[in-house]
């Protein structure tokens, strides 16, 4: 009898203590996704079942197998050997170093009209892995949303969320987080937060635009296949490295900007960069990189 009471108390204590109630589904999703990707890229043997249309020679020669956890932070370069070589060459002279410096300058030396600065809003710059956050009454707040909120609260004009100063300041935050060895740590701790996550997930898995493709067609089932010559990156670890310097842009850009490009890929009219649609989607996307190292800024084709 006493034993059962103790056990009962313990269970009760656990359910109060752990935030596990609200993030249970998200954790299950993340675990399943990680397992799927690790299996998909485990060995050459049996790879045909995941890549039915990829030429055998390509599977033999250009794929790196045996990928695990942190490997996926590299996106498609985790398995695409040729791409990885080019990527390593590009990273010998990283084109984003000036952006990190510019971001540091913005962080340390921007004085708002009221005398305050970014340091008042963000005392610690190593926060890339903490965003997006869910804030009651506001919904999902991405790092870009938080930066613009800081500007507005201090009587300043908000920035373009796609590039420029926004990308530079994010680059500095990402760099500072990486230096400290931070990992993504996205939290879901309320019913409303769980609902926003589910909304983002629904967006990701539904057919969109006139091409009727889902994000998952290309980045879950499609991960490792190619659209023309471009290898598709996996959802797991897909956002660890933002902001990115894209050769196609010839400059640094934010995750919001990249997503807008993919909306166009699937023939969808694009959503505003600070819309609920975009914020919920980024909440889901970033949760799917939980536990992986903050790895930005980086380069992509």
């Amino acid at each position: 009898m006493r034993k059962t009471i103790v056990a009962g108390l313990l269970i009760g204590a656990f359910s109060v203590l752990s935030a596990g109630e609200f993030d249970a589904q998200a954790n299950k999703d993340l675990k399943a996704l990680k397992e799927y990707m690790e299996k998909k890229f485990a060995t050459r043997k049996g790879a045909e079942s995941y890549f039915p249309y990829t030429p055998k020679e390509e599977l033999d020669k250009n794929f790196k197998w045996g990928l695990k956890g942190d490997d996926f932070r590299l996106g498609s370069y985790a398995y695409n050997k040729n791409g990885k070589e080019q990527y390593d060459e590009m990273n010998e002279m990283p084109p984003y170093e000036d952006n990190i410096d510019a971001g540091e300058e913005l962080y340390k030396n921007t004085k708002f009209k009221n005398g305050k600065s970014f340091k008042d809003c963000f005392p610690d710059p190593a926060i890339k892995g903490e965003y997006p956050k869910f804030v009651k009454g506001k919904g999902v707040v991405t790092l870009a949303d938080a930066i613009n909120a800081c500007l507005k609260e201090n009587g300043e004009k908000p920035w373009d969320m796609a590039k420029g100063k926004m990308a530079d300041l994010e680059a500095f935050f990402a760099h500072a987080s990486k230096e400290k060895g931070k990992r993504y740590h996205i939290v879901i701790n309320s019913k409303e937060a769980a609902a926003a996550y589910e909304d983002g997930k629904k967006i990701y898995y539904s057919q969109r635009g006139y091409l009727k493709l889902s994000c998952a067609n290309c980045h879950v089932q499609g991960a490792g296949k190619r659209v023309r010559n471009e290898y598709l990156s996996p959802l797991y670890g897909q956002v660890t490295h933002f902001p990115v310097y894209r050769l196609a842009w010839e400059e640094l850009g934010t995750l919001q900007r990249r997503i807008k490009g993919c909306e166009k890929n699937q023939g969808e009219t694009t959503h505003k960069l600070d819309s609920k649609w975009m914020r919920d989607l980024i909440y889901f996307l970033t949760y799917m990189s939980n536990g992986l190292p903050v790895d930005g800024p980086d380069i992509r084709k």
Partner: protein, 114 residues
């Protein structure tokens, strides 16, 4: 005799026309297949015996399509869900990306894939 000759000439002309218009259609279909803003089929497909510039691997390498009935090819391009409800191929007719004539052109091109 003269009449016969004219008839023969006409017949040749007619068949020539038919050929010309079919090969024009094939040409048009080939262009739709390989143009990003049109069918963009090469984003996902290679095609047996054709030189495709950097074909993707989301869809199968197309082969043996010369054996398919035209209607089956038309249906596949118009609405792949008809035969495969979970197809990851876009429905090019249903969504209005390609019109009836353009789909017929693509089908004419697909029929040349051995």
């Amino acid at each position: 005799m003269k009449k016969l000759l004219t008839l023969a000439a006409l017949a040749i002309l007619a068949s020539g026309f038919a050929n010309a218009s079919n090969s024009d259609l094939v040409k048009e279909g080939k262009k739709i297949f390989n143009t990003k803003k049109l069918g963009n089929c090469f984003a996902c497909h290679n095609a047996n015996g054709k030189k495709i510039n950097g074909p993707g691997t989301l869809g199968p390498k197309l082969q043996g399509l010369s054996m398919w009935p035209e209607q089956a090819l038309y249906d596949k391009v118009y609405n792949p869900y008809k035969t495969n409800p979970i197809s990851a191929m876009p429905p090019f007719g249903l969504n209005g990306v390609l019109n009836d004539h353009q789909i017929k052109a693509v089908v004419a091109y697909l029929k040349t894939i051995k």
